[in-house]
Amino acid sequence: MSTATHVHVEHHDAPPRGIWRWLSATNHKDIGTLYLVFSLIMFLIGGCMALIIRAELFQPGLQFVTPQFFNQMTTMHALVMVFGAVMPAFTGLANWLIPMMIGAPDMALPRMNNWSFWILPFAFTLLLSTLFMQGGGPAGGWTLYPPLVLQTGNAFPFVILSVHMMGISSIMGAINVIATILNMRAPGMTLMKMPLFVWTWLITAYLLIAVMPVLAGGVTMLLTDKFFGTSFFNAAGGGDPVMFQHIFWFFGHPEVYIMILPAFGVISMIIPTFARKPLFGYSSMVYATASIAFLSFIVWGHHMFTVGMPLAGELFFMYATMIIAVPTGVKVFNWVSTMWKGSMTFETPMLFAIAFVILFTIGGFSGLMLAIAPADFQYQDTYFVVAHFHYVLVTGAVFSLMAAAYYWLPKWTGHMYDEKLGKIHFWLSVIGVNILFFPQHFLGLAGMPRRIPDYALQFAEFNALSSIGAYIYGFSQLLFVYIVIKTIRSGEKATDQVWEGARGLEWTLSSPPPYHSFTTAPEVH
């Protein structure tokens, strides 16, 4: 008995196996995996909806679906992608990475972590089931503007309930992230030493908690307006339908940053690794993130310049929105400076990160153009807006998620992914996505409104092109699924550090991280 006996647990308190392992999971790595798998499934479901939309828009005229179903597709595509794919994916990354990055054994509230995940499949089953209800699913756009959304059929209360469930899940996730980051950092890991991904998630969680009740309250008022005779948003009873837009966007604009701030964090982790050079301007990155978060509370009006605000309001929202370009610019400049005089290699995560910087910046430019109120009167509700937010969310948020997946997959699975396939996936994605969304700028400027199932002949060429891009991009994601499965099952053994230039606590763990935490003592300098 000279050393502690190492035995393998075989008796009843062993962790459960099979499905029960996942249902009762409290381990941050299990939950992180669940989130990531769930979001990948939702990404594919939402993607199928997008492909239905693009198939209908391939040519003018009605070919495949009715206008009503088309509207259901646009609405569901947005809800599934925003709440089902992008947000859970980032929560999954947070679950996997935050404890490893800050040197904590697990998330702070493991049981709540389990609930916050398992609400999601139910919420989305409910949401998707509305498509089969009398009157179809929600067709008033993901922004749920009244009075149109009140014309939804039997599905309406179910939609509201599922939005509530998504909100509860997000809030629980955010509480967990906050409690973990604040309480469980390893000794010496001060706030200003935290990796940027952790920082951006802390700010994101703060935003989530600040705005989620507004969404919950807003959709509840829709519900009472429809069923309980209140008239919050009904002009006949003294309400104002535009107030819903104010409330929605007071939530919605921070929500946009909730989807992009963690992406900033991911990119800020990846670029230094492959440039083999520390991140340029760490503290300014933190302050830029915080100021973007703060500004996000006071710019919601730019989503609704056309509702007829007085001049002073339009000017206020225009100026406030333009100012956001400054901290965002600081971030882009910092990334470029990190690459400057580095020693770069271009593995798949780096390729996605570089594509992110370029394409997100293009999305930022069109965002700046949209901020200019008088010009926005032309852009508003056209394909220019569609192009803008897809550049920000697809080549922004989704590309950062792809980069993150390739970057940390060897760490998670212990196997290197197939670099050649990864590069093929990258090039197909980046070419497809640009063919898909770049022409939409032209469509919008030429005057094609969003959310229409059929269009005038002058828009035919670009729509056909866009649809072709959609199919290239969409099907190339199946390659990604294949690469992930292949990496999990086989592949070259990954080293602990995986990437030559990787820095940070998670790279000191073995690949895959065999246990909760560190085999060598984390030392933070």
Binding site: M1, S2, T3, A4, T5, H6, V7, H8, V9, A14, P15, N27, K29, D30, A104, P105, D106, A108, L109, M112, I171, M172, I175, N176, I178, A179, L182, N183, M184, R185, A186, P187, M189, Y206, I209, A210, V211, M212, P213, V214, A216, G217, G218, T220, M221, T224, F232, M243, I247, F250, P512, P513, P514, Y515, H516, S517, F518, T519, T520, A521
Partner: protein
């Protein structure tokens, strides 16, 4: 973190186990109130405009956040004390005072570090004696638990030698 107090001559030693915490109670409170002010500010603002349904949601959410932070803060103050004294091992667990305690015979005590057969799961450190076993150091990270296991084993050995 593990704090070891050992008296080389008396064969007595104490292990004080605490989870790592990086935010003080005061810090938690400050953080909570900063969020409370923001969230209730928004909710009260909207209530004044007549959109009161936001308020209960904000309240519920703040309650959940408060409970979450409180539970974590309490868990961070959890403490386990393992005293090896003569021929007994006393294990106490509690926050301000020992809420639970066990006494095991030192003679037959074994320190067992159980590793889970599946990746991603934590190991468990058990002190076994006469078929009873007590798990200690759940909240430690892997490296600390490993070190504690080694230290415990070492501390138990001299007694074994002395008695034989």
């Amino acid at each position: 973190m593990v704090d070891i107090q050992q008296h080389a001559d008396t064969l007595q030693c104490r292990f004080v186990l605490r989870p790592n915490r990086s935010l003080s109670w005061r810090g938690s409170l400050l953080f909570y109130f900063s969020l409370l002010i923001i969230s209730s500010g928004i909710a009260i603002g909207l209530t004044l405009l007549g959109f009161w349904p936001v308020l209960p949601f904000a309240g519920l959410e703040m309650l959940a956040l408060g409970i979450g932070l409180y539970v974590v803060a309490c868990r961070c103050y959890e403490c386990e004390v393992i005293s090896i004294n003569g021929d007994s091992i006393r294990i106490e667990r509690g926050r301000d005072y020992p809420r639970e305690q066990w006494t095991l015979g030192r003679m037959w005590a074994r320190v067992v570090l159980e590793r889970c057969p599946r990746a991603w799961y934590p190991s468990r450190l058990l002190i076994r004696s006469h078929g009873r076993s007590v798990e200690v150091g759940r909240f430690l990270d892997e490296e600390e638990r490993q070190r504690l296991a080694d230290e415990l084993t070492r501390s138990l050995r001299p007694a074994l030698v002395g008695n034989l």
